[in-house]
């Protein structure tokens, strides 16, 4: 098993969530006391989407997912022993382009507040105070898997977004220029090339997490 496939990295980390009550719980729930896993779930469910997502703001994310593993499920059978987890786990899956260390560093550097807010409920996270600590922490929780998202073409996200942008712009070009003379086509294509800036991977292009096409 390997965590990499071509230039894609498949990260799976299981971070144990602290058992019991939070010390600094949300005042709304304070009377009843609040467990760490519920607090994490609330944060995850309120994470902003699309372009506002912390993963859109982390270089080269193909697909990322955070979820809470409550327990393992009992599969049918007559086992005497049923396994149970000692704690709940914050599961972090991410498929991205490139190496693990720079990816996690980018996640920390661009979203430190959100990372701290989420992971503060995990065991031993109090020892994390900078990007290097975060990389070390996630690595210590990492499983070796072959879980890859089959929907990407191995290139950096910026290049994929640019390719998509050019493809869509080219479709528009074709649809609007049908039937033109060779001279008109040449002129229009020249303008098209200027407009899409093939050699500039950053701009114009679609943004990570962008869901609406604005031609």
């Amino acid at each position: 098993m390997a965590n990499t496939s071509g230039n894609a990295y498949g990260l799976t980390a299981l971070c144990p969530i602290i058992n019991g009550h939070t010390n600094d719980s949300n005042p709304l729930y304070k009377a009843a006391g609040e467990s760490h896993d519920k607090e994490v779930r609330r944060i995850l469910q309120a994470l902003p989407l699309n372009q506002e997502s912390p993963f859109a703001n982390t270089d080269n994310t193909y697909l990322a997912r955070l979820f809470i593993l409550n327990d393992v499920f009992f599969q049918q059978g007559n086992d005497f022993k049923r396994d149970q987890l000692k704690s709940k786990y914050l599961c972090f899956n991410s498929n991205f382009h490139g190496e693990l260390e720079p990816y996690l560093t980018s996640l920390w550097n661009n979203n430190e507040n959100q990372v701290r807010e989420i992971w503060q409920h995990c065991v031993a996270f109090e020892s994390v105070s900078n990007a290097n600590d975060f990389v070390r922490y996630i690595k210590s929780c990492q499983l070796t898997t072959t879980l890859f998202f089959n929907g990407s073409n191995d290139q950096p996200v910026a290049e994929q977004l640019k390719a998509l942008y050019v493809k869509q712009m080219f479709s528009e070009f074709v649809l609007t220029q049908q039937g033109k003379s060779a001279a008109e086509l040449k002129q229009a294509f020249k303008y098209f090339l200027q407009r899409v800036q093939l050699n500039d991977v950053k701009s114009p292009s679609w943004k990570p997490g962008q869901t609406e096409v604005t031609l």
């Binding site: 479709s171 528009e172 074709v174 649809l175 609007t176 049908q178 039937g179």
Partner: protein
Amino acid sequence: MSYIDGSSMKESKSLDLYDIQGNVCKGYGRYGFPKARYCFLSFQHTHSAREFLALLIEKITTAETWPVSESSDHHRIKPNSTLNLGFTYSGLKKLGLPERSLKGFPVDFTMGMKARSEILGDTGISAPEHWDDIWQQDNVHAWVAINARDQDAIEFEFNALGDLVTQHPDGVRIMSGIKGPNNTILPYQDASAVFENGLPTAKEHFGFTDGIGNPYFEGCGNSMSRLPGRGKLMRDGSWQPLATGEFVLGHVDEAQEYPPAPEPKLLSRNGTYMVYRKLHENVDTFNGYIDNLAKDFDGSRDLLMAKMSGRWPDNGAPLTLAATDEEKETLDAKMASIELRVSEGDKSALIERKELRRQWVDFTFNDDKSGSRCPVGAHIRRTNTRGSLETEHKAFHRPGALVDRRRLMRRGLPYGGIDEAKSDSAEQGIIFMSIGASIERQFEFVQQQWVNYSNDFKLGNDKDPLIGSHDGKLTDKHIIQGCPIKGAKPPFFCTQMPRFVETRGGDYFFIPSISALRMIAEGLIDPS
């Protein structure tokens, strides 16, 4: 490709055709019964509604073949009209089906078509709030269909139905609220084959020849000569009948399972589901769009229309058979010469004609992967993909494994276009009716994934050029693939496609067997 000789094959499965309602196994047909009237009933008091139902059942025509006359020509004795019946979920509830039986119906059916509008692309001008008034209420409980040889027979049977309804004032009423010609509001929907020179044709109002490739399933009772092109495509290129359970409940389907169905088994066995949709055709918009595009298109107007549907408008010949104006001329000349010889009594010409006509349905897209003959996004290539989705060699256990579970048995007829001038606002279109064992797996899937989306065809968000829910945007397009051979045509792009077809109403109906109808009428449905 090899073909089996359908006529030499024997059907292995026989169905209880007396128990299955008519028009399910074999279509009544545009030639035998070119006229139809559909009306919708609302039930009131259960007891009286059941009494009405018990009397109506006696009029229902079944799937059994018509009896043969004892006269010398042994012709089939057809009635002047037929009558069939289906219920919505709320109709079955109103008839007092036990809760446990009701809970066994699938979610698509229990929700009904209106609630599924997002899935179906019934949005914008096709959204339920724009449908005919009858669909604005939630008390359509039953659908009654009368098919007939002529309009007189329709009126006669409809009056008889009216009399029966009048006798049960507490039980049932015929609902009004259906938009008719010249801004009338009617208690029925008339439908009719389009007539040319006094004879019924297979045309619809855009001018296409329609309803050609209906599926063939085991036990349907149709001649085996109709199997090639209509059954399921086998690895060796031959065709076998689709499993009965794809179209009739209580029988094994293509997954070798019984389709999910409510209890008791007698309630569902030999029954089926039907999708009813009133699809308005914007004839002006369509003609204007085609006229305008034809100016830039390298080919005839008919070829352009064929490149949208996949079949030539005049006679329904598929593009696989003739993909250019020249090839079509050759095909027409060949057909004309065969017809001439037939008229002169040449018996070998009869066989040649049959062989040629077989190719109207017996084809695949195997030799046209790029779509240079029949565009990949053409209507017939979307709605019946044949073997074309098996893009990797032997990826599936059969080339058409995906489509075999998504075939639509169409039983509709055109409506309108007779009493008023053809225009966008005039009442004309198609009453689309599709029969199958699973509305969700068959009709809804085709509508959502193949008609209004193109991921499976690698065409992005493109939609069906004829019935897709377009809005006239630049990217509302249809691509007519070019020919990759050197010196041949470049691709042609149909852009800014408007909505040619709008949904004006409809619902999902359960078509019970005769046994189930009797039990419903007598209140004998007992799932315990």
